[in-house]
Assembly symmetry: C2
Homo-oligomer: 345 residues x 2
DNA sequence: GGCGTGCGCGAGAGCGCTCTCACCAGTGTG
DNA sequence: CACACTGGTGAGAGCGCTCTCGCGCACGCC
């Protein structure tokens, strides 16, 4: 398709400006140590010819790509079910763009794909990687570690391997959960239940831990396991009502789960929040605002998480920031959450 | 970080296998015309050394990148508000992966970014582009056309420029809308209203056209304009009830809008579907299944759209398919939709 | 046995860039 | 006035790969 006209090379620009390739290269890469009038001449030639550097040739010698891989491990279908992923991606994209880096997206699907991703990363196509891998038993983190690619994880990797040098960005799931449960307690609720997320993910475990931090002696029957889905929420809520009909508050592991719980409560004739107060997690707009009643929930700044991941990675690559000495090695960050009060609690 | 061990080159593999670079290259690229025992020897050397071809060096000479850009034009916040985007991306990713192509994601934010994207595409970093640009007045398509990069659009580009050679993949928005409205009519409804989407997007226009196809002499007061959001749906529904209190069915431009409409109907004491039947569009899982009552809606196969876009592009690049003569130039595709019956109509 | 034929392989050029190094002013110093 | 010294510039090597070309060899034909 569209036979591209042969693109001008450094050589051509040099000829037109009447200087050497080296000088053009210097100008293109910042222009330090070149006399102003020459810089001018070269710039002009570049514009006239519409010269754009050939990235492949450049990478070949510099061994830099100005590209970062974003790896999303399937079957994180959850990642697709909510805008989480898109928002995070947007944050990442903004930050990378600001530092002239490209975003190479790697979506994995099943086990074979892990090998593919490992190969790709080891292949040195990118300078670093941002990895989303929420499951505890995911082999990806190890694989990546072995590939020797600078990496920042999205969410605390629940991972038994070597922890040294692992950098991640996460929300304060535990703290957010505590806030939610405390809020319910502050409302005078005493039979506060928790519907967990999928416990093979660190975020679910952390939220459960936060619940336990406050409900130190919680009746174990007040904890029902679910999987971050509305259907799971319904099932868990029924269980809960079965075991403890007098439950007066529910902290659900996320908004989707809460929406399922809400529906069961309505079906069984409970008024929310009068009879049972409900709090979710995520502040996932289309869900939290559309439930009946609108959901009180714990918000996390998802886009900021993405941006921060990218920033940490670039810093680790000695880019995107004036190198702050040798000590600039990034470390993990946990972002705060905020309770958003709506009508359900 | 992690000083990468110097990666083995073709040269090294050649030395170890006792053959020339050329032969190694042949083996790595398919191994045609090399005797079996040599192929064997080379493969062994490759494995032992953990050789991975340097893509930059390869691109430098082949002028191929095996990479495709996916451009998502902001402020398509809508794209982020629903799983649409993620699903499409997944479809694209699957197809690209199957043909060993990388996915470079370009998210744009505001006008400056258009220039950036244009520069990037013109810079010949990728072999082709998949572009999502839903707004009628978006300058991006023209820009890309000028960059001379093979492109497939997601959704019919509403675009006044030169149409020749424009390839897109879209859902049958118009046909889906017709099905929905016919279904309502089949239910015996006669006062069928339509809440439109944002009419600066072709999908919204097409759905409106579909509605009009069936409701040829529709009372104009039965059409209310909204913007694909729940809030817009609420507003439009109130308008509608105000103008025509006897409305007995609503076809909303998408599920989000329908959810807003549903809420207003409930508030005003209408029973759904008994008093007013409601149909949405998209079959966006977390919304359509969670509304009360669950939403009847028009489903589009979003992932397939993505996959198809990628397939068309690769075919246009003479890849991913045995070249079917010169006639293999791809043309646009419109995918069918299906009506999903739930409780609301 | 001489000759054409075709296949398998190696030699070598060159893709477009960066970067080191040597060179050539021009300036300041003894 | 000879000397080092500096800062701007060009020459040239080389990054790791692909691909064309030509050579050598085995085969089949006359």
């Amino acid at each position: 398709m569209t036979d591209t006209a042969p693109r001008p090379t450094l050589e051509a620009v040099a000829a037109r400006a009447g200087v050497s390739r080296a000088t053009v290269s210097r100008v293109v890469n910042g222009g330090d140590g070149v006399r102003d009038n020459l810089v001018e001449r070269v710039r002009k030639a570049v514009d006239e010819l519409g010269y754009v550097p050939n990235q492949a040739a450049r990478s070949l010698v510099t061994r830099r790509h100005d590209a970062v891989a974003v790896v999303v491990a399937e079957p994180e279908t959850r990642v697709f079910a909510d805008p989480f992923f898109a928002l995070q991606l947007r944050g990442i994209s903004k930050e990378l763009t600001a530092h002239d880096n490209q975003l190479v997206l790697l979506l994995t699907e099943g086990r074979d794909d892990h090998a593919r991703v490992g190969r790709y990363l080891a292949g040195g196509h990118v300078d670093g990687a941002l990895v989303f891998s929420l499951h505890l038993d995911d082999p990806l983190p190890e694989l990546i570690q072995r590939a020797g690619v600078p990496t920042v994880f999205g969410g605390r990797p629940g991972w038994s391997g070597d922890r040294r040098g692992v950098v991640y960005v996460d929300s304060d799931n535990r703290g957010g959960a505590r806030d939610a449960v405390r809020h319910l307690a502050g409302l005078g609720r005493t039979r506060i239940a928790h519907i967990t997320g999928a416990l093979d993910q660190t975020s679910a475990v952390d939220r459960l831990d936060g619940y336990r931090d406050v409900m130190v002696d919680a009746d174990p029957r007040l904890i029902a396991e679910a999987d971050f889905t509305p259907a799971g929420g319904e099932r868990a809520m029924r269980e809960l009502l079965d075991r403890c009909p007098d439950v007066d508050a529910v902290f659900a592991a996320n908004d989707l789960t809460a929406s399922g719980a809400l529906r069961v409560l309505r079906e069984t004739g409970r008024r929310v929040p009068d009879d049972v107060a409900v709090i979710g997690f995520d502040d996932m707009q289309p869900v939290a605002e559309q439930t009946d009643p609108p959901l009180t929930t714990v918000r996390q700044d998802i886009e900021e998480m993405g941006r921060l991941m990218a920033r940490l990675l670039l810093r680790g690559l000695d880019r995107g920031a004036p190198r702050e000495g040798v000590a600039g090695r990034p470390s993990s960050v946990v972002l705060p959450t905020t309770l958003v009060r709506r009508a359900s609690a």
